[in-house]
Symmetry: C2
Subunit: 243 residues, 2 copies
């Protein structure tokens, strides 16, 4: 299982991803689900992966190889003129990989399917955020839905919906994401620490934060502990039902 | 969609169920998903339904008809000597209905499948609570898992897991259930008010509360409003992340 979230804030983009991969409960391992590309002054792009691990790793490797094998005729993640074009490149690569391994099954039904969250900023465009489906098509986050989740999305969604505010600081956004991950990790054994954080501040064309929260991270554990306490206190302050 | 929860507390059993049924977003209706049977001084039983509506209604009608057509050789929901036996009757009836309508499909994969939560007290037994699968087999709630959910379970689960305490009062339990339903209703348009409440106090062999929370219920709306406020305040009191 996987839990990935990306927020599109006024200040820029924030990405968080867990690192747990499992092929059954007896085959659990830790993998990096974040890929990123930076060209100082030109672009910063982050890709979060959910789904079949062979597919997501192959897509990321192809994106990398094609970015460095200069084919001037076809755009790569490093030469795309816009984030829309970059999302198209990722979507086409994903569809190519999924249909090559399971050509007779629709990509959405394929056991080798995957979903990506792609965000970043290219040139003078504003930062943009996309959710890319196994078929290779994608949707973009707007003002009404300034975030995307993938993987085990439900446990951690209510607090995101209640508290997400596009004007919030990166510091408050990381707190909110830690709360969202805490609810998910408590509920689904297929999602766990460490979790990876990436931040792309608007108009800086760089990834300003690359940080991993390990299992013993004092901040995450404090948020987890205090959030649990605060929820129980908040519940106790609500009026009991009166029969 | 559906959301049903039942709690097994020291004081007895508490059941809550939404009333929304939909066959596509253009075909939404309101149905009662609660059935109950009472024999004063002998038994009180509540059944919550999730899944295919034709199946759940047929099962409930068969349980009713067979309870009143006195066949002394086969136990009915009104003559079963234990809640285990009652769960067996419900499970067998469910399997019978599902396999009669889709004999070539395993019940768990059938579009006509359903899941029941059955709880109650028979005779001198303690109150018991069961989750009955489309195959007709079932599991029982114990001290380690004193509740069952069915339908859209994920959004409302984190608070149940955090705050449920077998020693809690019915008044506090209804508050907790309202919070759990509020998170679910906000997230899934297939779950909505009105919601139905049933309470079986231990050793009284009766349903002490049969209440419906309508859309304009002042208590539910107060909990919903104050819970939202309390969550945002609790989040704001947690320490922001420090890069």
């Amino acid at each position: 299982m996987t839990y990935c979230v990306a927020l599109k804030l006024d200040r820029g983009l924030v990405f968080m991803s867990d690192t747990r991969s499992n092929a059954g409960v007896d085959d659990i391992s830790q993998v990096l689900k974040v890929n990123s590309w930076e060209v100082p002054g030109d672009r910063a792009i982050v890709l979060l992966s959910a789904g079949n691990l062979a597919t997501t790793q192959t897509v990321a490797s192809l994106l990398d190889e094609r970015a460095h094998a200069a084919d001037p005729l076809s755009p790569s993640i490093l030469t795309a003129h816009s984030m829309f074009q970059a999302a198209t490149v990722v979507g086409n690569t994903l569809r190519e990989v999924v249909t090559s391994i399971s050509p007779l099954i629709p990509p959405s039904a394929s056991p080798f399917g995957a979903t990506f969250i792609l965000g970043g900023q290219v040139g003078t465009e504003a930062p943009r955020l996309f959710l890319i489906y196994p078929e290779g098509n994608f949707i973009e986050a707007g003002d009404d839905n300034p975030f995307f989740q993938s993987g085990e999305t439900k446990y951690g969604r209510p607090m995101l919906v209640r508290a997400l505010d596009r004007a919030m600081t990166f510091e408050a956004a990381v707190k909110l994401l830690c709360v969202s991950f805490d609810s998910t990790i408590r509920a689904n054994a297929g999602v766990d620490l460490p979790i990876d954080l990436r931040v792309i501040p608007a108009n800086e064309h760089r990834i300003s934060e690359k940080r991993r929260f390990e299992r013993d991270d004092p901040y995450f554990n404090r948020v987890s502990r205090e959030w649990s306490k605060a929820l129980n206190e908040a519940l106790s302050l609500l009026p009991d039902f009166n029969f």
